[in-house]
Amino acid sequence: MQVNKFKVSCTINGAGYEEEIAPDLLLIDFLRGLGFLSIKQGCDTTNCGLCTVWVDDRPVLSCAVPAARIHGKAVTTLEGVREKAEAFAGFMAEQGADQCGFCSPGLVMNILAMEKELDNPSPEEIRAYLAGNLCRCTGYASQMRAIEAYLAARPYCKPRGGDQ
């Protein structure tokens, strides 16, 4: 059977790509197919947050976006923000919050997006922002400790009132 193909051109982590794709290809499969293997799939129903990447700097679930939709857009994966991810990883490691690690890539992409979007978020705002990032290992508490320590350690961070 003939499968219709069409061209999509975009940038991924700053580099230009022009690819022939099937119209129903999902962004997650498109990106993993190109070797961006940080992206993980945890569910079939857009519930787990593992596959989070940025399209034009906004976090999206790559399992819920047809690859065709990123034509002309800029995609960022964890491979593209490695330096920042490493800075954050130190705080995760400090807490032992990196357990199996499978949810980390999506979580990190969403945390870095939150950092850009919210100034000095409260614990409630952090929980709400990251509500879609499931984790089965940690019970979330150690992740919260790592996130709060990471945000507090930023050089431009104002001390937050009321929180310890």
Binding site: S38, G42, D44, C48, T77, L78, A89, R127, A131
Partner: protein, 760 residues
């Protein structure tokens, strides 16, 4: 100590958090055939005809396999030591399908799209049979789930497959009837727990290929590499030496990966085609085609005198093992043997059980492994007894509590050598503010806050069975390779074992390289389950480290021309007298010399198997807020105080505890695998099967009251499983304290609370 009892970061932390490609699917070759499985839509049916011709003719399709193409050796997928207690009741593909989801055909194609098309082209005719869906009616049901003649059990497990009875048994201690007869108060209650899905973030996945020697290699997300090798050999009908199993990083297990789930399908394809093959389960498939926690109905009878002294305990369990017996005969045992011994003051004990087959997905291993179910029943019943006696529930527990130095008849006659459970209870009581809240505090006309508590125990490995070998090699620059067969599934056991090795060898952690598990290279280990790794494999690490020091000292003695007993090893050098003045040789120099022919290259092996399984303990306290208008329960605060012996890595032990508590809260309040009237699973996605998100969880407080276990490495017991057990009963007890509604069935939904516990 330099590394033990220190919060050392996990060795793989940076790789995992920065998204390095380290998991099974990340390292699979691009040329793998894509393997998919056609699954039965019926709960119980016989395949009368299966036509694969159309599917085989489609473009890209490499093979389509049915029950006609698989070896007829029944086996169990349960990852247990041989001879397994679980019955041999499976084939890779069978003509009789026993649950909706049972594999019917395996297809392999160049692409996922082509494999999907082939799946649709397989035509199957079924003779649909009447399914057995209710475990309470399973025994002697007219439908026999395992009528096959080649059904096999390895030893007596109280099995009668023709009656749908997978296993049964009885244990007693003392004169139970007399003890109940002299009791002033007897409570007799029945509790029900549900099937739960382990829901690790990485679904099941395996890829396979033939190596240059014509051997089958399986790279798999598994907790049990060596059991996978043995089980695959039997199931595929090839010798064990023709199989190699490699475990990369794995994205969680919780017991789900203590069973062979995805391995055999790509393995079969590779054997048939000679080509690399890969199977990645969808989340739906991970729900419908794997194993769940055993649902249990547990009746608890407690007899006590007026003063609250327990006279007798009787636990009777009916466990639903589903369509196959994976872990069925063993999980049930923990429902009694890890609940009754907590109250070791009881004069007489009785434990009776049946494990039945039904036409639902097979149950299997899930963190807690039956102890979790037993804990819900026992700890709920203890609060109910306290209510009947008009006693404080914690005082009742403390009065009957097992204590260090006692022999535990309910726990295989083992002696308890390390226990601070009483301190755990007292500390937790303080941390949760028990005296301020118990039983409840009214917040407003419609909201109350209440506390509830539960205690629990688990084991540390399977006594006399779990076996761990470890080898440590001195490498040519003076660093060490730690070869283990235990499977880090994200818990950090690679790190913990390296901490112990560094402690024994008195070296920096970065001089310990932990080798990935590969059955061709790693020493034998039964695997990471039954809370065994820290305790059993850890002891092997200590033994191997000490043996290596002896070898290093002997080689150094030859170089120095001194008797070995005059020498000391301090990690960096071997020396006589004082390090400054006496003769010495640096370990790095010694290692370099050994690598250029001036002596034997050094490595030391050790094996450990423990005759006992020292129990870790935990006291859990839930502080809930309950909305009287809706019945909604929110866990504001959960306090867990744990006695795991010496925590080797307090950070990781804390995260284990927090994670276990949250998984336990999920089990208590949300998680419930449900089937419709024809036996089809109704909530096979994260949309429908709710695991806790970070919005569902309040504050979690963890503390350790460390005992020192003399048979454990550095005094350690286990931590991995004990932490999941207390939330369900602690929350049930808190609900009862809040509004007087006693819920005896999980999960405890807002509707159940609102309707007043009319479930039993």
């Amino acid at each position: 100590m330099k590394y033990v009892n220190k919060g050392v970061p996990k060795l793989d932390a940076m790789a995992l958090v920065t998204g390095r490609p380290v998991y099974t699917d990340d390292i699979a070759p691009d040329n793998c055939l894509v393997v998919k499985v056609l699954r039965s839509p019926h709960a119980f049916a016989k395949i009368t005809d299966i036509d694969t011709d159309a599917a085989k003719g489609l473009p890209g399709v490499a093979c389509v396999l049915t029950y006609k193409d698989v070896p007829e050796h029944r086996f169990t997928m349960a990852g247990q030591s041989f001879p397994e207690p679980s019955p041999y009741d499976r084939l890779i593909l069978d003509r009789l399908v026993r649950y909706a989801g049972d594999p019917v055909a395996v297809v392999a194609a160049r692409t996922a799209r082509e494999a999907d098309r082939a799946l649709k082209a397989v035509k199957v005719s079924y003779e649909v049979l009447e399914p057995v869906l209710d475990p309470e009616n399973a025994l002697d049901h007219p439908s026999v789930i395992h009528p096959e003649d080649d059904y096999h059990v390895n030893f007596d497990i109280g099995n009668d497959a023709k009656r749908n009875l997978c296993s049964s048994g009885e244990f007693s201690f003392g004169d139970v009837d007399a003890a109940f007869a002299r009791s002033d108060v007897v409570v007799d209650r029945t509790y029900r727990t549900k099937a739960n899905n382990q829901a690790m973030m990485e679904t099941f996945r395996t890829f396979s290929y033939m190596d240059h020697n014509g051997r089958l290699t399986l790279v798999s997300a598994t907790q049990i590499p060596f059991h996978v090798r043995r089980i695959a050999a039997r199931a595929l009908g090839i010798p064990k030496q023709k199989i190699r199993v490699i475990k990369p990083r794995i994205g969680g297990g919780f017991g789900a990966k203590q069973t062979v789930v995805s391995e055999l399908f790509p393995a079969l394809v590779t054997l048939k085609t000679g080509k690399p093959a890969k199977m990645v389960f969808t989340r739906r498939e991970s729900f419908t085609g794997s194993t769940s926690r055993h649902a249990m109905r547990i009746r608890v009878r407690l007899g006590a005198d007026q003063a609250g002294n327990l006279q007798a305990i009787h636990v009777d369990t009916l466990s639903n093992t589903g369509a196959y017996g994976e872990h069925g005969p063993t999980t049930v045992g923990l429902s009694g043997h890890k609940s009754m011994p907590l109250y070791n003051k009881a004069k007489a004990l009785k434990f009776t059980y049946n494990v039945v087959y039904t036409n639902t997905m097979s149950a299997g291993a899930f963190r807690g492994y039956g102890a979790t179910q037993g804990c819900f029943a026992m700890e709920s019943a203890m609060d109910e007894l306290a209510g009947e006696l008009g006693m404080d529930p914690l005082a009742l527990r403390l009065k009957n509590l097992v204590a260090q130095g006692e022999i535990m008849p309910g726990y295989y006659g083992e002696k308890l050598n390390a226990c601070t459970l009483d301190q755990c209870i007292c500390r937790g009581k303080e941390l949760v503010g028990w005296d301020d809240t118990y039983p409840f505090q009214k917040i407003s006309d419609t909201r109350v806050r209440a506390v509830g508590a539960a205690i629990t125990m688990q084991g540390s490995g399977i006594a006399g069975i779990d076996t761990a070998s470890v080898e440590i090699r001195l490498q040519d620059d003076g660093f060490y390779t730690l070869m283990i067969g235990a499977a880090d599934m994200g818990t950090g056991c690679d790190t913990i074992l390296a901490q112990m090795a560094a402690e024994v060898l008195c070296c920096d952690m970065d001089r310990i390289i932990v080798s990935q598990v590969d059955t061709d290279h790693s020493p034998y280990d039964t695997g990471s389950y039954a809370s065994s790794t820290t305790f059993v494999t850890g002891t092997s690490v200590v033994k191997a480290g000490k043996a290596l020091i002896r070898k290093i000292t002997r080689e150094a003695a030859k170089k120095l021309g001194l008797p070995p007993e005059d020498l000391e090893f301090d990690g960096t050098s071997v020396f006589a007298g004082t390090k400054e003045s006496g003769q010495r040789i640096a370990v790095t120099d010694l290692a370099r010399e050994l690598a250029v022919g001036k002596g034997a290259c050094l490595s030391a092996s050790a094996t450990h198997s423990s005759p006992v399984s020292p129990p870790p303990f935990m006291a859990g306290f839930a502080e809930i807020e309950l909305d009287l208008e809706t019945g909604k329960v929110f866990v504001l605060n959960y306090v867990g105080v744990v006695d795991c012996g010496t925590p080797i890595n307090p950070n990781l032990a804390r995260v284990q505890t927090e994670g276990g508590i949250v998984q336990g809260i999920g089990m208590a309040l949300f998680e419930d695998i449900t089937y419709n009237a024809s036996g089809k699973m109704m909530n096979a996605s994260f949309m429908q099967y709710k695991i806790p998100s970070r919005l569902d969880i309040g504050n979690i407080q963890v503390a350790f009251e460390s005992s020192y276990e003399p048979s454990g490495p550095f005094g350690a017991k286990s931590i991995g499983e004990v932490v999941i057990n207390t939330p369900a009963p602690a929350i049930a007890n808190a609900i009862a304290n809040a509004c007087g509604v006693r819920l005896r069935q999980l999960p405890m939904t807002a509707e159940d609370v609102f309707m007043g516990g009319c479930n039993d």
